[in-house]
Symmetry: C2
Subunit: 352 residues, 2 copies
């Protein structure tokens, strides 16, 4: 459907880098187009309607990715972020950097990451390539918001719209969840598990992960219900208490189910947090919440919803207890394992 549009085709005597604003390039991973700014995840209408934490986190660009095609031998980026945010347990590349993949023989392959320097950054993503046209995907910051992005290419090369639609095939998968879903603590943006899954499934994945704030807000359920989704994944347990789950889960579920009677909904158990081997309090909470969720999903199925299912978490991130940075947030090891466990489950649900 996309037509090939030559956005830039400058001729020059030497291979200088020329920057082009990315705003005309296709953007993947948005739940809504009702935003004045481009690289945000929640509609502007939610401002002052929901908790400030949610609208702030909605301005983080987790799960968003730009698509383009170029024959440049070098790709650079210049970008500005909203907050210049930082965390001790996550790399700056993951928080506010960029991550470039190229399409090789039909598979997305890592090409290079963009190192942030502060609010404004410039970084070489990849260089020394042969000058042939390739498809690229550029993942945006996970825990900060990009406000402007420019892509730099050789002055003699072209920056074009993609010629293939990958990974945007069919309807998107929509994920709702916590800091972990938002990508905490992937080493680079492409390693948040929704981004890994998008590459592996060749499907668009929409990331509605809100660090510390997946508290079953019904306003978010309405945004999700308004998307034309192929599948909903609800992965919120670490952010809610047992009481909050009891109070709000059914209303959240019902908003999705009423709008989409036949779309699969997958509930996800608490991760097997590694430090629960030592921390008895964490072990108790995990067990209680998982037991409640198992029973809730069983009840839904008994009431006749055959499109609702449960992802049990025992094998979610392996069994060596090594896959987190702090007992809670996944590293690239955790995200890779989680994606590999989810992949066959999602494929099966999508094939229904």
């Amino acid at each position: 459907m996309l037509t090939t549009l030559c956005l830039a085709c400058c001729m020059g005597a030497t291979a200088q880098i020329v920057y082009h604003d990315a705003s005309a390039l296709p953007l993947l991973g948005k739940a809504t187009e009702a935003t004045r700014e481009r690289y945000v995840r929640l509609p502007d209408s939610l401002q002052h309607q929901v908790r400030k934490e949610l609208t702030d986190l909605g301005q983080n660009s987790a799960g968003l990715a730009l698509r383009f095609r170029t024959n440049s031998t070098c790709i650079k980026a210049r970008w500005t972020v909203r907050n210049n945010f930082g965390m001790a347990h996550m790399t700056a590349v993951g928080v506010k950097g960029l991550d470039l993949y190229g399409l090789v023989d039909g598979e997305w392959r890592f090409a290079g990451s963009g190192f942030p320097k502060g609010k404004q950054s410039e970084s070489t993503l990849v260089k020394n390539m042969t000058p042939e046209a390739r498809e690229f995907m550029l993942y945006l910051p996970l825990y900060d918001g990009a406000t402007q992005i420019e892509i730099g290419i050789d002055s003699l090369s072209t920056l074009e719209l993609p010629q293939v639609e990958l990974p945007r095939t069919g309807k998107p998968l929509v994920f709702y969840g916590t800091s972990i879903l938002q990508g905490g603590c992937a080493n680079r943006p492409g390693m948040a598990h929704t981004n890994i899954l998008s590459r592996r499934l060749q499907r668009e994945c929409i990331n509605l992960g809100f660090s510390g704030n997946a508290r079953l807000d019904l306003e978010v359920a309405r945004v999700m219900a308004a998307t034309d989704a192929s599948l909903y994944v609800l992965d919120f347990l670490p952010n809610v208490t047992l009481e909050q789950m009891r109070e709000r889960t059914d209303a959240f579920y019902s908003l999705l189910r009423e709008a989409h009677p036949d779309v699969p909904i997958l509930f996800v158990e608490n991760p097997p947090f590694p430090h629960a081997l030592f921390n008895q309090e964490v072990a108790r909470e995990i067990a209680e919440e998982n037991a409640w969720l198992r029973n809730y999903v069983k009840q839904l199925r008994r009431k006749g919803d055959k499109q609702v299912s449960l992802f049990t978490s025992e094998q979610m991130i392996g069994t060596d207890r090594e896959a987190t940075v702090d007992g809670c947030h996944f590293t690239d090891l955790g995200f890779t394992r989680y994606a590999e466990q989810l992949l066959p489950v999602l494929k099966k649900l999508l094939a229904k």
Copy 2:
């Protein structure tokens, strides 16, 4: 061999935290005791003898770990680092944080990480444990140097010397290498691959990784030759040019071999840097250096050294090209895969 020594046994009415300096606790991972300061890796005598970069990096505490035993329900740490260093592509926890493992049924299990706040930090590593005596191992910062470490326990509990020697069984393995070996870019100190291997082998591993500076300095070979090692792993290729390899490899190897005629020496190829799929220059360098090394090791074996071998890198970090943060430095995914590939090779060499 270690005797149980009650370093602290305070009685009090409430469970307050009491801090104890860690300087009396056993320290693993040092190549030399000839240092005035405790948490450093190279002997003081090298100062002004070698390049400043090397002595500076020698003050990073990569691969060092404290051992202790406590029945505290909570373990905290207070620590000071030398440089308050930071990098965009590595977490602060990995660079200058701490990482605690507990021994459960004979296996080292992640218990909690220490989040740095600056030059001086205080962090809760684990809490809500049952009050029973356990063995712990605390990994020190990878890319900064700890200058002081205190361990905080419940005032009613005891901090003791370990009762088991694990992972210090037999002679240590000694690793020489680059930023990757030093732990760039593990998410937390325990995930540098020498630390993973130490836990899996239940052997002490000495980390002589020097970021950007594994240039076959003979002074470092002399430090290594002075250790009573069970195995040497030489993993320096990414830091040397082909010319430097030709000039210095044999002298470096000879210093080790003359001091230890029968100790296995394992040379390691360049990692299969993922971005080499795009960057032709990197692809060319990897291939050239690996070819030279393969031939060099073949020559050594032809000359009669049957205790020298080569680790080929094709499967080193998997084949999905996802295991680095920047095309070069390993994430926890890369380090885990590397350790899993090295493990059977090292076991075989140690069994010889």
